[in-house]
Point group: C2
């Protein structure tokens, strides 16, 4: 991201040469600025919002016609955001945001250089209303519910913006743009659009591709005329966050076909290239995001994210985030663990504990078999961390669902999964997952490891790209228009594939040649 | 104006075919409408304002997706104004306005057909603050003064709009656009832009060519998203009213060179054709608008607008508006009168009363000679209506100024005045003036009478054209860009011309071959 100057920005600041008024040149103040900016940009139409026109004379005369102007481009017209003295040369600044159901991540950017200045992640305050999207949609239908949900978001975002610009000593009005990627429901709540029909047949959003809005429209604490770009969605179940991911991955520009998987609450999958894109989504995530396993949790300090089991000694080597005493396990740790349990013969190909190999690590509580992962004495919670058979069963369903979805979408476009040359794994999940372990349990195809490209928050990454580049922003509608959304029909074929995938790594062992079973 | 359908409108209403949502077509509500409208228009970009997006789902579902949409075009993008049920097929409607310093004239139009539905003229309420522009500019500089002046205007305009739409049974939100032509100061006050620098060297407006505004921006009682088009100005002294006149005259499209004169507080003159336009303005008006003559007044009931004097009997034949007993005289009546006085030998070529011809019609009051035009017994005011020598002197100066300005501007482009093929006379003055009389006194050149084209309120006419036609609206910036504004320098040459024009019809009799002097 470090560079001296962006070459294709759509939010810019210019300091045009402008003569002071005289009897020989009585051009009006607004038109004088417009003319100077046109000359500087070497281009066409400039729009001046009413509020700016009203203040123009005072501003221009206040700095003796030596000004900087901030503008943004939309549909070929450059819109004036701000005019100030030429001496104030910093900025413009902007914000990229990943608008997640659980987490908001904001990144402050220098829009001239593209440099990242700050980044803050925070819980989505709507969690207080309901952790899941459906509860929130229901809440929005109540008296004042929608306004409340929108206000919660905007207030929290404004706090974060306030904190970031204070830390960097940036005035609010120097923040001249924002770009937001989120799922369809979150995007609706952010805009204050009624999400009622998102979860009701035939699942119609209020809007797919919103026009640029202004910060003032949304009550955001940036320059009131700052444009807010909101990623479009393809439908209720395929949101702007994934389109941002496609943009960030670059798969939409490549000749070879790639696949992109974003595991959040849903597993969202896109396959395609610069000519076509096909997408689908399905419930495959919960076990992977910490929603299912009894000890499961989101990644955080003390959370187990790496597990190695020595197949000879059956010794567990456990890694935690920040090397703190373990308090739970996250999705990537769980996948590692299950892969290691399988490779050491402690679970069988159905994912069931093998008592002869697990020995005294197995316990039975309330009729349910648990494996003690960390005894109470070593645990950060002073209680043993265990993994139950149902936890593993849930993961087996998740991984089977994931593999089935991948098989189905690849099958739909007639490309064998194992022929893919690039496999993007997005999401917080993607940035930590060990592809080797995920292959071992048969969750993702048995491709060379270098095929896998993890990239952290693809939604945030895409949001920032759209904010920084005119071409990237323009590309988004092209991406959206190219996407064919495939409804996942849970038909007999899907169920057959699913059943075949509920083994480690798979019923058809030829699909996973690299996975070596433990042989006792 | 009567026609079945305009062929080039920029504010339109369409009733696109739109399928209800289904699982096979889950396009969002906003995008569904946009898609349908695009198909209907066979064209590109559609912008949906935030406020409309917010209400879209409710509207569409309320009428089961059978809708009419109102849109306006700006810089190639069609902007949504309103969406309602397809059954409401009336409209859209719009308003043209002549924003005069003394008078506001609003015309209600059917934007589909161009038909004129209503027209109301009212005093500019700012007259209460000051009859002249300078007083208002001064007032605007005081605490809250600008806001007060703007509010006065908007409130009065809203009253008029309210009256018109009530009379026609049109809902406020069906009024989907407005077009306003006024001088530069009035335009600034209408927009709430500070006019302070308009009357101070180097006379810089806040804006020459304002972007479209919304009715909501200005607090106008039409649809809040309705576009308001405000004519651009060339500078402080050359306003949008005159540009509207140029547009309305059509001189900007003609190959032959024409001249346009608009007499209001100033005389504004434009000469040109489709390739170039030159303009100037000068003080020549007051005597003609009723501001100077002791009996002078604006046209109205009982006001003398025609005078014929029989050179043999010296009998006065006096015509008044609505044939009521005379109460005063307006500009056109005054010109008629002075022409007739000259033709009957009652004034000489210097405009001085000839006592031997005037006889007992002459009276002396306070050392000033008056001609009794209407004795008290015939007067609507029960007092005699008289015309003093200073009244005539003032008219002589005005007519001399007018002719000098015409000579000067024609000279600047090297076209003899008497070669002009078309002479547009705009303004309320223009619609009543008898060109024969104006030629007789040497106010306008001695052209064949058919050369003169009076057209009433050219400013209103231009405003309405701009509202009804995309091409006309687009042409305006072309007109503005083509205008060269000529500063009238009151130099020796000007003064020589002026002196020569202070005779009836002129010192150089060869310029007015058609005028026959009275020979007693």
């Amino acid at each position: 991201m470090e560079q001296t100057q962006l070459n294709d920005p759509w939010i810019i600041r210019v300091s045009p040469d402008m003569a002071s008024p005289s009897l020989d040149d009585n051009t009006a103040d607004v038109d004088r600025l417009v003319k100077a900016v046109k000359k500087e940009l070497g281009t066409g139409a400039i729009a001046v919002p009413y509020a700016m026109a009203k203040r123009m004379t005072r501003i221009l005369r206040g700095v003796d016609y030596r000004v900087s102007a901030t503008l943004f481009e939309d549909r070929g017209v450059w819109h004036l955001v701000d005019v100030s003295g030429a001496a104030e040369t910093d900025g413009p600044f902007g914000l990229g945001m990943d608008l997640g159901s659980s987490t908001l991540v904001l990144r402050l950017l220098d829009l001239k250089t593209g440099n990242r200045l700050d980044e803050i992640s925070t819980h989505n305050p709507q969690i207080d209303v309901g952790p899941d999207i459906l509860t929130r949609i229901h809440h929005a239908a109540g008296e004042g519910g929608l306004e409340e949900l929108q206000r919660m978001l905007i207030e929290r975002i404004n706090q974060i913006i306030g904190r970031m610009i204070k830390r960097r000593g940036i005035p609010e009005k120097a923040v001249a743009g924002m770009s937001v990627a989120g799922n369809t429901t979150m995007t609706h709540l952010f805009m204050g659009l009624d999400p009622y029909w998102l979860c009701r047949e035939p699942y119609i959003p209020v809007v797919n591709a919103p026009d640029l809005m202004s910060a003032a429209d949304l009550g955001l604490a940036l320059h009131p005329e700052a444009p807010v770009f909101i990623f479009p969605n393809v439908g209720s179940y395929f949101g702007g966050d994934l389109i941002a991911g496609i943009l960030a991955s670059g798969m939409c520009r490549e000749k070879t076909t790639a696949i992109l998987v974003d595991v959040g609450t849903n597993a969202e999958v896109v396959i395609g290239n610069r000519d076509w894109l096909m997408a689908c989504a399905g419930a495959a995530g919960p076990a992977l995001e910490g929603g299912v396993a009894g000890v499961g949790m989101m990644a955080g300090p003390g959370v187990i994210d790496r597990v190695v089991i020595d197949p000879e000694t059956l010794r567990f080597e456990i890694g935690t985030i920040d090397d703190l005493p373990p308090v739970g396990i996250c999705g990537s740790g769980l996948i590692d663990l299950v892969a290691q349990l399988f490779l050491s013969g402690m679970i069988d190909l159905r994912g069931k504990y093998v008592p002869s190999r697990c020995g005294d690590r197995l316990e039975k509580t309330g009729g349910v078999t648990h494996l003690v992962l960390v005894p109470a004495r070593d645990s950060g919670t002073r209680r043993p961390l265990t993994l139950s058979q149902p936890d593993i069963d849930a993961l087996m369903r998740s991984k089977a669902a994931m593999y089935t979805i991948l098989t189905t979408i690849a099958g739909a476009v007639n490309i064998p999964l194992n022929d893919l040359e690039r496999f993007y794994v997005a999401g917080t999940f993607g940035s930590y997952i060990n592809p080797r372990s995920a292959i071992t349990i048969g969750m993702i195809p048995d491709l060379p490891l270098e095929t896998y490209v993890p990239f952290g928050n693809s939604s945030l990454e895409g949001a920032c790209r759209a904010l920084l580049s005119r071409g990237d922003r323009r590309e988004i509608s092209g991406i959206r228009d190219r996407i064919t959304y495939m409804e996942l029909n849970v038909n007999q074929e899907f169920m057959n594939l699913f059943s075949a995938a509920r083994f480690i790594p798979h019923t058809d062992r030829s699909l996973f040649p690299s996975v070596k079973e433990w042989r006792g």
